[in-house]
């Protein structure tokens, strides 16, 4: 089995009694990429991360990080990775500096000038007690500890929680730099704009199952478009929805809003057969809509 990837899972499955939190998950995160792991709340993102971090043990399947077994070699693995758990909790009585010192002592060999550099980039305050920090400032301490040991792989679970947009952008830059220097980032998120901006490839998970695995550019090239038509008469949603490639039809009197993938001439011809088209405006769909489409398709088949 090929285990040279940064993060690799095969048939990873986790059941909690009758609840199937994770079903047969195959992932392969490569060095030099930012991998976006997308899904709605409760889809199994955190379960996946907790499994590869050896916090919980899989019911079936296998996971490895940097070619090492996630359970057997978990201590050695953690020497080479950075981890930012979801819903970060720190020791409220310690200052940021105490917190980083604690983890540095457990790791050994942390470069403090690099830590200072990270803190400056994120504008993190290390002198206050963590319990007295706002959630965003607390999150910065978490981000610093995830990057401070020059990890080969950074695993982050909803890292942007509480961060203001400027700091979010800085964090995204840090992720890109990590990938550029040959490291890998596993980024779990439900904020699609973030993933769209930073990720190379995206895995979409729903109800514990991976439902799509594509590069961001190929997802975009699916070229969903948002189309808004202004008609001379009131439209019948059934007629509009019957056109191949059309979905998510919303009709407001003379105005029709829909998502469309296909050739625009086909749509215009079909619309022209039934209605007089007064005006048309289109824009490129973002990942959000593509994601919703995958999500809905799955829901429809369930």
């Amino acid at each position: 089995m090929s285990e040279t990837g940064a993060l690799h899972t095969e048939g990873l499955t986790k059941h909690y009694g009758k609840v199937h939190a994770l079903v047969d998950l195959d992932l392969d995160v490569r060095p030099g990429e930012v991998f976006g792991f997308l899904g709605p709340n409760g889809a199994g993102k955190t379960t996946t991360i907790r499994t590869v971090m050896d916090e919980i043990r899989p019911t079936a399947g296998h996971a490895s990080i940097l070619g090492m077994d996630c359970h057997r070699d978990s201590v050695e693995i953690r020497r080479h990775i950075g981890y930012l758990p979801s819903d970060l909790a720190l020791y409220p009585n310690l200052t940021g500096r105490d917190t980083l010192t604690y983890f540095a002592n457990l790791r050994g060999g942390v470069d403090w000038s690099y830590v200072a550099q990270l803190c400056e980039r994120l504008d993190a305050d290390l002198d206050k007690k963590v319990g007295d920090l706002s959630s965003g400032n607390r999150q910065k301490v978490g981000v610093v500890q995830a990057f401070m040991n020059h990890p080969q792989l950074v695993i982050m679970d909803e890292p942007s929680a509480g961060l203001d947009p400027l700091v979010q952008r800085e964090l995204q830059a840090m992720m890109r730099e990590k990938a550029a220097e040959g490291g890998a980032v596993f980024l779990s998120s439900h904020t699609l704009s973030e993933v769209q901006r930073v990720a190379d490839r995206v895995g979409i998970i729903r109800a514990g199952e991976l439902i799509a695995l594509e590069s961001v550019s190929s997802l975009r090239s699916k070229a969903m478009r948002r189309v808004e038509l202004e008609l001379a008469s009131v439209a019948d949603p059934v007629v509009v929805a019957a056109v191949p490639g059309v979905r998510d039809v919303v009709v407001e009197n003379h105005r029709v809003v829909l998502s469309y993938s296909g050739r625009m001439s086909d749509l215009l011809r079909a619309a022209g057969e039934h209605y007089e088209v007064l005006d048309i405006s289109t824009q490129e769909a973002d990942l959000e809509e593509i994601f919703l489409r995958f999500y809905r398709d799955q829901e429809a088949t369930v």
């Binding site: 201590v75 693995i77 909790a89 009585n93 983890f103 457990l106 319990g131 500890q145």
Partner: protein, 550 residues
């Protein structure tokens, strides 16, 4: 909303009350069963003061003796501890958790929240007392023990109001300061100090009346079990409770509420001061976080320091000179105090320094102190990090779960040893100041065994913490087990029963370490038991899925 704050507190707490009452009922059953077997004639000749300390009314028959020992000492302390915990959590707890903002985001006034919390406290005390009252009627019935002349209802009224007093005291301190630790610390301090003051002051000629200044006095001094309700005493308790509630109402309306707060320790102040900063940084910063076990122990520094200091001064140093003051009285009592009664307090001869220290310090307080600290450290060791969700980051570092358990166990042993050493030092110094001439080696032996027996229950807490990830389970089970084993050991010694060997406490004072020195076998057995529990904790934690609590 008023009703739901009330109902929620009730819902969160009634189980604890029920469990405590059930344990007390069981203890009453055991005590009555044991007392049936022994001659009780000698109790009539006991001096009033000693009976007050033990919570036993004069003319004690079987039933009132059992009631006295179980309900008015253990029971009243347990119920007081419960109300203090509820009272301290009422306002200050919501502030510490950061939930007070959401709560008061609803259209309810601070006064309403406080009053509904107070109402739930009253309801819980009523519930607990009613259940105890029921047990007080039922247990004698089961054992066919005569309770004629015992006014259980009157005692229950005193009992309930006394518990309420401490709860409202904690509530008031919490409402004024927003500090849960301060609230429970002050209220427990008042309760424990007044428990001992009321027990010991009557021994000191001329100071007898000072006992009236302490709230514990109004629980049992009037012997409500025999004499019925003393309305003046009841009025003192009820009046003080109402006054405290008023104080709490004023306090909560006056001050700025805290958001989720972090306590400010002495070390923090030293770190903030430029002149002491460098030194304080070294102690409080880099040293504190150098190892997992050091950090764990430092999280419990307040508990450890308070318990160790209290044991050192009050149960150690002060007891030496006190023995001389009591000596004459104690010698007179020598023949009249039945050993069977003293066994509950560790047994021993009050006329010798060794016997004195055994009853006052080692019998109950020394193991209790070690258990208090080690169970707190053990229970929070792993489950605490899981419940606070810091375990994810801790284990995000290259440390194995086995190492985490091992380091947590080390902090358990260290904190137990600190308490044990302070007991040893206190008693040794007390004996030296009082010129009592006790063997230092024997004091060391008893202190070591107290530490080891405490560590057994601390190790049990660590094991449960490792295996379940639930702090509550890891606290209540070892505490319950320690009380049950202590009672079991005492009862077995009363009856010379062989099953006493099943209790760890048998290996603590069973071989009389204060007189005869260390029994290596007992020490080894206790150490092995603690080590075995810790050894089981390692795989228990290693194999388990860690919890994710939100």
């Amino acid at each position: 909303m008023l009703a739901s704050v009330f109902a929620r507190t009730l819902h969160e707490r009634w189980r604890g009350v029920a469990v405590a009452v059930a344990s007390l009922a069981l203890m009453l059953l055991l005590a009555m069963a044991a007392y049936r077997e022994i001659d009780l004639g000698v109790y009539d000749s006991l001096p009033d003061a000693l009976r007050t300390l033990m919570g036993i009314p004069p003319g004690a028959d079987l039933a009132s003796l059992a009631f006295g020992v179980i309900f008015s000492s253990y029971g009243a302390l347990a119920m007081g501890g419960m109300t203090i915990s509820i009272g301290a959590a009422a306002i200050a707890g919501e502030e510490a958790a950061g939930t007070i903002g959401t709560l008061l985001g609803n259209p309810v006034s601070r006064a309403h929240v406080l009053l509904s919390k107070a109402a739930s406290l009253v309801a819980l005390v009523t519930l607990g007392t009613a259940l105890l009252w029921g047990a007080g009627l039922l247990v004698p019935l089961i054992l066919d023990v005569n309770t004629a002349g015992l006014q259980i209802s009157a005692f229950s009224l005193h009992f309930a109001l006394s518990a309420l007093f401490y709860g409202f005291l904690a509530l008031a301190v919490g409402a004024w300061t927003g500090s849960r630790g301060l609230a429970s610390g002050v209220a427990s301090g008042v309760m424990v100090v007044s428990f001992f003051a009321v027990g010991l002051l009557p021994f000191v000629p001329g100071w007898e009346d000072l006992a009236r200044a302490f709230p514990w006095y109004y629980l049992g001094a009037s012997e409500p079990l025999l004499n019925g309700v003393d309305w003046a005493h009841v009025a003192v308790l009820a009046g003080s409770a109402v006054a405290l509630l008023g104080v709490a109402l004023v306090g909560i309306n006056r001050r700025d509420l805290r958001s989720r707060t972090v306590g400010v320790t002495l070390l923090d102040r030293l770190r903030a001061n430029p002149t002491t900063r460098r030194l304080a940084d070294r102690i409080g910063g880099s040293a504190r976080v150098s190892r997992i076990w050091v950090k764990t122990a430092s999280e419990h520094q307040v508990t450890i320091v308070i318990v160790a200091a209290a044991m050192f001064w009050m149960m150690g140093v002060a007891m030496g000179p006190l023995f001389n003051g009591m000596n004459v009285l104690a010698r007179d009592l020598g023949d009249t105090i039945p050993e069977s009664l003293l066994i509950f307090f560790g047994g021993g001869d009050l006329t010798t320094p060794e016997g004195w220290f055994q009853i006052e310090t080692f019998g109950m307080m020394a193991p209790l102190a070690v258990i208090l600290v080690t169970v707190a450290v053990g229970a929070k060791a792993l489950a605490g990090e899981e419940e606070r969700r810091t375990i994810a980051l801790l284990l995000g570092n290259p440390v194995s779960r086995r190492r985490v358990v091992a380091e947590k166990a080390l902090s358990l042993v260290v904190s137990g040893a600190i308490v044990g050493l302070s007991i040893f030092a206190g008693v040794a110094i007390g004996s030296w100041i009082g010129g009592l001439g006790m063997e230092v080696g024997n004091i060391a032996a008893a202190s070591l065994l107290a530490t080891l027996v405490g560590l057994v229950f601390g190790a049990l807490a660590l094991l449960l913490s490792a295996a379940t990830g639930l702090v509550r389970v890891a606290i209540f089970v070892p505490v319950g087990a320690s009380v049950a084993f202590h009672v079991m050991d005492s009862l077995a010694r009363l009856n010379d029963a062989p099953w006493g060997r099943l209790s760890p406490f048998h290996y603590y004072l069973g071989a009389d370490p204060l007189q005869k020195g260390l029994d290596w076998g007992s020490g080894a057995l206790l150490a092995a038991l603690a080590a075995a529990l810790i050894a089981v904790a390692v795989p228990a934690f290693d194999r388990r899925d860690l919890r994710q609590t939100g």
